[in-house]
Amino acid sequence: MSDMVLGKQSGRDKLFRGLVYVILGVFVLFYLTPLYVMVVTSVKSLDEILSGSLLAFPKTLDFYGWDEAWNNACVGTECRGMAPFMINSLIAASLATVIPTAVGALNGYALSLWRFKGSDLLFGMLLFGAFIPFQIVLLPMASFLGWIGWSSSLTGLTFTYIVYGLPFTTLYFRNFYVSFPPDLVKAARIDGIGFFRFFWRVALPSSVPIMIVSVIWQFTNTWNDFLFASTMTKLESATVMVALNNFVQVANGVKRYNVDMAAAIIAGLPTIAVYLIAGRYFLRGLMAGAVKG
């Protein structure tokens, strides 16, 4: 597309084009400034933060904030740093990514390519699950987890993530497989290729783009979740988002902005990493099916 022939551009065209770039540039600044402030603040000393401007570049690099955040951040009276909570988050988010993606792929495959009586109804009901506001299910879910003995535990939280991830991942895969050529399935049926063999050898390997979408969606949503995590965990099972809130809240005396900023950046790093690695597939996946490639 970049070598598209545009013909000769008039002055007006150039002006409009320039205007578009200016507007885009303003938006880029608007979105990047908070990140800039966070990064800059996290490497300033507390003195410098209090005396200098918010936007100023640090005079000297000071990694006190990062050190404190990672090693000594306190939740309540315990000061064990962020690592334990990062691990909690990693466990919960990874399981809540892998399991719903795998099950959602199988669900979506069955609901689109091997339809059966009532499959559309089943899909409709499953879809309904995607649109229920989480606040509504908070109490019933908590009491259910209490009933089966998983309350205030990482297991219970992960279970919740997995259950509420499934409608979304099923939806993604179903809509992806729906545009699969139906003749492929017909050919497989005639050739005696079964449900699972077709899934494993043909459907799944062809669905990398939507898998990436599902992974990014599940990982960022569960990693960033605060609602379920703050309700369904206690101190030692808290995820990093809950812990981050506590770090910032419990600080007494002078507010250590550099520590807070460093902690916030650390908490956000894994999702940034996922985006950077898989981001380019993300857009491609969202576009898949719109245009036959």
């Binding site: 050529p181 017909k186 049926r189 290729i193 063999r197 050898r201 043909v202 062809s206």
Partner: protein, 395 residues
């Protein structure tokens, strides 16, 4: 090696009856072609044979056994799809050998089988490529390879050539015909292209609106069509129709034709006296193939030609000969055009009346009401030569 019998098969989609009791028999080794316009039910019938769709009534028998309730994989059939239906993530050889994988055949053996089939189809050098790296014709061959590797009892083809360009279509058509000759397996082939039907089939079944119009050899269907629909569907350019009134006379009957733009012409036809009596004074439709209508200067070998004058609209030179588009007297419906085959060096002038020689030994007659064929001149036989008569009557 298998016989296929389709006995009174019906299929409904909601309130629409797509197949209205189809009866077809294909002998062992038959190349059966199902042909008809879109929506005639030919693809539905193929799906029913394959087992991709159930039939509501009737039986589909392979080797005498009703398979209507059997899963597609248990029918021992292979199918080639219009879209090729290749698995995009698998290489060519994996595509070809995929049906064997389900049967638990080892990878080494599968590869060997795929290589064997690929050799037959000139695909050897592409075995490790992906389908998207192949041209349309090569993909088509891979799809055929996947069917071949199974060595099934019956091959099914669902418009396999319609996604190819014209030149490749002819090449692949020949390859399919060769394949049938070498294997001798029963094949069922669906197409809307009557040329494919004519060239490939040992038996053609013409379908319309879920009913069999005619089943027979290509020769039968072409020369002795059972009704006007079959006559117009088979053949390209299609058969010309002229309406007229039949009058009994001493040689059989004479058809009196009102020419478009005024005037009247007539042709004598060697019909039986019974038929002549039955249709005396009634409206009939005369069917003439374009190759049986030639310009007056062309050589007319035997004495079966009669000459009429008819208004010429335009000439379309094709090189080998010239297509003459004539005015029709059938009214404003879709058949409002007639085509004759003139010699390449014709001197006819468009917009005027031209002399045309009509081979009355190759014409058909249809009842104007029912559109059923009532007479095929080709069945009269050479022993009864039609009289040479210049039977034109100027208006």
């Amino acid at each position: 090696m298998a016989t296929l019998e389709i006995v009174n098969v019906t299929k409904k989609f909601g309130s629409v009856t797509v197949l209205k009791g189809i009866d077809i028999v294909a002998a062992d080794g038959e190349f059966l072609v199902l042909v008809g316009p879109s929506g005639c039910g030919k693809s539905t019938l193929l799906s029913a044979i394959a087992g991709l769709q159930s039939n509501d009534g009737g039986e589909i028998r392979i080797n005498g056994i009703d398979v209507s309730e059997q899963h597609p994989k248990d029918r021992d059939i292979a199918m080639v799809f219009q879209t090729y239906a290749l698995y995009p993530n698998l290489s060519v050889w994996e595509n070809i050998a995929f049906p064997l994988e389900a049967r638990g055949i080892s990878k080494a053996e599968r590869r060997l089988e795929a290589e064997k089939v690929a050799g037959l189809l000139h695909l050897t050098e592409y075995l490790d490529r992906k389908p998207r790296q192949l041209s349309g014709g090569q993909r088509q061959r891979v799809a055929m390879g996947r069917a071949l590797v199974r060595d099934p009892q019956i091959f099914l083809f669902d418009e396999p050539l319609s996604n190819l360009d014209a030149k490749l279509r002819v090449v692949m058509r020949t390859e399919i015909k060769k394949m049938h000759k070498n294997l001798g397996t029963t094949m069922v082939y669906v197409t809307h292209d009557q040329i494919e039907a004519m060239t490939l089939a040992t038996k053609i079944v013409v379908l319309r609106d879920g009913e069999v119009q005619q089943a027979g050899s290509p020769d039968d269907v072409y020369h002795t069509p059972k009704n006007k629909f079959v006559a117009s569907f088979m053949g390209s350019p299609s058969m010309n129709f002229i309406k007229g009134i039949l009058r009994r006379n001493e040689v059989g009957a004479r058809i009196e034709i009102v020419r478009p733009g005024g005037g009247e012409v007539a042709l004598d036809l060697p019909v039986s006296s019974n038929l002549a009596r039955q249709f005396d004074g009634k409206a009939v439709i005369l069917g003439i193939r374009p190759e049986a209508m030639i310009d007056a200067k062309s050589e007319t070998k035997d004495g079966t030609y009669q000459r009429i004058e008819w208004p010429l609209e335009i000439l379309e030179p094709t090189g080998a000969d010239t297509i003459a588009v004539l005015k029709s007297n059938m009214g404003d419906d879709s058949e409002g055009e007639m085509v004759a085959r003139f010699s390449a060096k014709t001197s006819a002038t468009p917009g005027t009346l031209v002399s045309i020689n009509i081979d009355v030994s190759a014409v058909c007659l249809f009842d104007a009401q029912t559109e059923d064929a009532i007479f095929h001149a080709s069945t009269v036989g050479k022993s009864v030569p039609a009289p040479i008569l210049l039977s034109e009557r100027k208006a």
